[in-house]
Symmetry: C2
Subunit: 174 residues, 2 copies
DNA sequence: ATCTACTAGTGGACTTGTCAACTAGTAGAT
DNA sequence: ATCTACTAGTTGACAAGTCCACTAGTAGAT
């Protein structure tokens, strides 16, 4: 459901191929929803079958032909309906916290490795999110770009929270 | 993988039935990993098949008979190995942020509904996590309970970050 | 000359997780 | 007397997502 609506959302901004959708996912959506390309192509086929978008094959010279997908009125309606419905909170899935939960069974060295690695990835991730944000033009509150950047800022807030938590825990563990 | 190791983790604390595992998941693991009971029973069967735990049927009077699962040495080794391996960061999956990403297409009323609902659920969730934490006895850094509570404190940090982010965004949107 | 990456997409196998129904006895509430 | 919840577990169908291999031409790098 979510993937199909996110695809409709991207198609509502511009007609696109599955290949381009994958690029957009990796570049701007990845921090809250990642998508496998096989999954994208299959979902796209389902959207066409449901009449939410239409595909047009475009021949190119020197490159493989491509299928440009365009959202339909029906598709726009489905997107809007989804935007307006309450999102049941996604189940948290955090394997790292699973390791922490049982970390009493680790020796000191492994314990510090666990937290150190987490801190490292969090720091790198924070840097990449901040770069993305800095690379974007400024947005006025309310316009489309503002909301897209808002999701980035959400990610940044959360990674910072993670780093603060790590600092707390590591301090207590001396 | 993760579910099977979390089950092994719980079994490493005490032998248990699938039914009890489900209770433990709902009570203490849910904030970072939720588990469906069908999934628990199937994973448990796989763990037995792999020799990571053994099942013993216990007859009860007045109640259905139950299968108590006990972790084996082999299972403890598998758990430890998992604890020591690096967790590849779980893909973020946040349908709410998906709605935010395209929220430029909503009218003012729907927009505020989107954020208001999120704030409400976040507040309630925060309260429930804090209650859980307050209801726990104090833990000394390094002991098993400390790490279990650390996962709760992680959740609290993150929900607070979410609320701060919401306040930022709502302020900017006037 | 070979290797890699990019463009554009397809197909199969597989894992993980979700939902709902079903069995069956006990105990408490209305 | 009926309804609901608890205990304990099983099964089937399905949805969603992942991984890998494959096609096939172009262009740049070593």
């Amino acid at each position: 459901m979510t993937l199909s609506r996110l695809i409709l959302g991207l198609l509502s901004l511009a007609p696109m191929t599955g290949y381009e959708l994958k690029k957009h996912f990796d570049a701007t959506v990845n921090h809250f929803w990642s998508a496998d390309k096989a999954q994208i192509y299959r979902t796209l086929a389902a959207l066409v079958k449901d009449g939410f978008c239409v595909a047009e094959t475009v021949q190119q010279d020197g490159l493989p032909s491509k299928q440009v997908h365009r959202i339909t009125e029906h598709g726009r309606a489905a997107l809007l309906e989804w935007l307006e419905t309450e999102s049941s909170p996604d189940a948290e899935r955090n394997a790292f916290l699973g390791r922490v939960f049982f970390a009493g069974q680790l020796d000191k060295e492994q314990l510090h490795k666990l937290f150190d690695r987490r801190r490292e990835t969090a720091r790198n991730y924070l840097a990449s999110l901040q770069e993305q944000l800095a690379a974007s033009p400024a947005a006025n509150p309310g316009e489309a770009l503002f909301f897209q950047l808002a999701t980035l800022r959400n990610g940044i807030r959360h990674v910072k929270a993670e780093l603060e938590w790590l600092a707390d825990i590591e301090k207590e563990l001396v």
